[in-house]
Amino acid sequence: MATPTRTTESGPALRRSAFRRSRGDGPFRFASTGAGVVLLAIMAAIGLFLVVKAVPALQANTSHFLTELTWQPNATKPVFGIGALAFGTVLSSLLALLIATPVAVGVALFISHYAPRRLASALGYVVDLLAAVPSVVYGLWGVTFLVPFMLGPSTFLNDYFGWIPLFSGESIVGKSMLTASLVLAIMILPIIAAISREVFLQAPKMQEEAALALGATRWEMIRTAVLPFGRPGVISAAMLGLGRAMGETIAVALIFPATFKISFQILGPYGNSIAANIANGFGEATEVGRGALIASGLVLFLITLLVNMAARFIIARRKEYARAAA
């Protein structure tokens, strides 16, 4: 029931558009367009540089780059392929995501909807702090504590759950795919939790009250009003975490046994990742070796791009609802 608004009879005189544009509009438009163009140019230059460096190495390769498992680009007859590295990157990141996301969502929900206010703000602060810890710290902690520690649980898993292919295998070590994934999971947990918490806090009170008024318990209220609202945000957070896990270098370079083998036995002495391999190999690489590493970096970039596109697709699938909610 809005009242009709009254319009003034003589408003300010209309100005010519050229006059308006001259007052800061032009310079601002120039600056923002310039910034955008420069960014694109830098991106293109980097991409071009990487491709130019990678192509000669790929031409010197005596095997197929996408399917070959071994990595010997420094040999006189270079043999290298991305197969094992890409597999290790994807598997370790996915495992990390699988471990971290449920815990992170739980932490976020506890902070946003369960914890008393003072505890919630203290916890939120700690989570933000953890998200800012450099990854090398997690890596060192992983090597000095988690690697020896994981031997016990890994043996237990192998003894009692060895019938699950993931936990099977003969040799059980601390420096395994599982340990690397755990370090990655702990590393990406705070960032997923921090973003999820922000999203959950923005769940509309109106919807929460609607659920409560229907006789929902707190958990049912969260399930009907908070989680559906937060879903796209949690997916974005998880993808950010996945990207971070796939690009992570030092933490996993310290832990991965650096073998070139595709194996789902995550307790065994197998595993490597593209980023870890670059960190470990760049120092003593030959000209061809560097090109090979750069080519592997390009593949990592492509994988990250695909993951991000998949995430956007997942979010966009429910756009009809998202738009209606806005």
Binding site: M1, R117, P204, M206, Q207, E209, A210, A211, L212, A213, L214, G215, A216, T217, E220, T224, A225, P228, F229, R231, R318, E320, Y321, A324, A325
Partner: protein, 258 residues
């Protein structure tokens, strides 16, 4: 399906601030009771104490008694969740669940309350939408998002969602204040229909609306800003609007209010 509510000596607080004080009244079953009064007089707060939604706000608490027939709603053994299942609520702004379809919105409460077979659910959803005078408008698009409806339709969807769980009482907190006159009329017709089955309490800022839809009217007022709101008088709606007992009521309904 309708029960009487009896309130005795009820105070409600937000932290240390006392929002309403000493309210006692009887709300009759199968009738519409309207709460009127100036902004900030605590009528919405009081409404929310009737189904224990008040205490959802951090720091909010209630003293006094609310009885639904023979049950003390604030008794120590009473679960607030079951109170809210028995006493439904419709809010000021339509708030269908945005991620759910029309069908799922209506079914939401039933799904919370336990397992219901699909065919049973279909029947209840249809009955509830018919009960909310919305069935004919949405029967061909039950799978579409509820948030895609117009404001008035959304509010009727929320009423359908509330009555789908078969409550004893329906509380409405200014259900038409965000709606245009035609949608308002549709809701008012609906209220007149629903009172055959439910006890209805409605908070409204629109005195014509109170006069049109309600059987009894309660007038709330507060002595000054920051003071707790109190019940001034409650009587048959026709009496409140023609011959109120209190001067303050007369001043308010005739618009001579400060």
């Amino acid at each position: 399906m309708a029960k009487q509510i009896e309130v005795a000596g009820l105070d409600a607080y937000y932290g240390s601030h006392k929002a309403i004080e000493g309210i006692s009244m009887t709300i009759e079953p199968r009738s519409v009771t309207a709460f009127i009064g100036p902004s900030g007089c605590g009528k919405s707060t009081f409404l929310r104490t009737l189904n224990r939604m008040h205490e959802v706000i951090p720091g909010a608490r209630v003293e006094g008694k609310v009885r639904l027939e023979d049950q003390d709603l604030y008794g120590p053994e009473i679960d607030p969740v079951s109170v809210r299942r028995t006493i439904g609520m419709v809010f000021q702004r339509p708030n269908p669940f945005p991620t759910m379809s029309i069908y799922d919105n209506v079914a939401a409460g039933l799904r919370l309350n336990g397992r219901v077979s699909r065919s049973q659910l279909d029947g209840i959803v249809e009955d509830s939408l018919k009960g909310a005078n919305l069935w004919n408008e949405v029967k061909d698009r039950l799978a579409r998002p509820g948030a895609g409806l117009s404001g008035g339709q959304q509010q009727r969807l929320c009423i359908a969602r509330a009555i789908a769980v078969r409550p004893q009482v329906l509380l409405m907190d200014e259900p038409c204040s965000a709606l245009d006159p035609i949608s308002t009329l549709a809701i008012e017709d609906l209220i007149s229909k629903l009172k055959q089955d439910y006890t209805i309490v409605i908070v409204t800022h629109n005195m014509q609306q109170a006069a049109r839809v309600s059987d009894r009217t309660a007038f709330f007022n507060l002595a000054a800003q920051g003071q707790p709101g109190k019940l001034v008088e409650m009587d048959e709606t026709s009496k409140i609007f023609t011959n109120p007992a209190e001067k303050a009521t007369e001043d308010y309904i005739t618009g001579r209010f400060g």
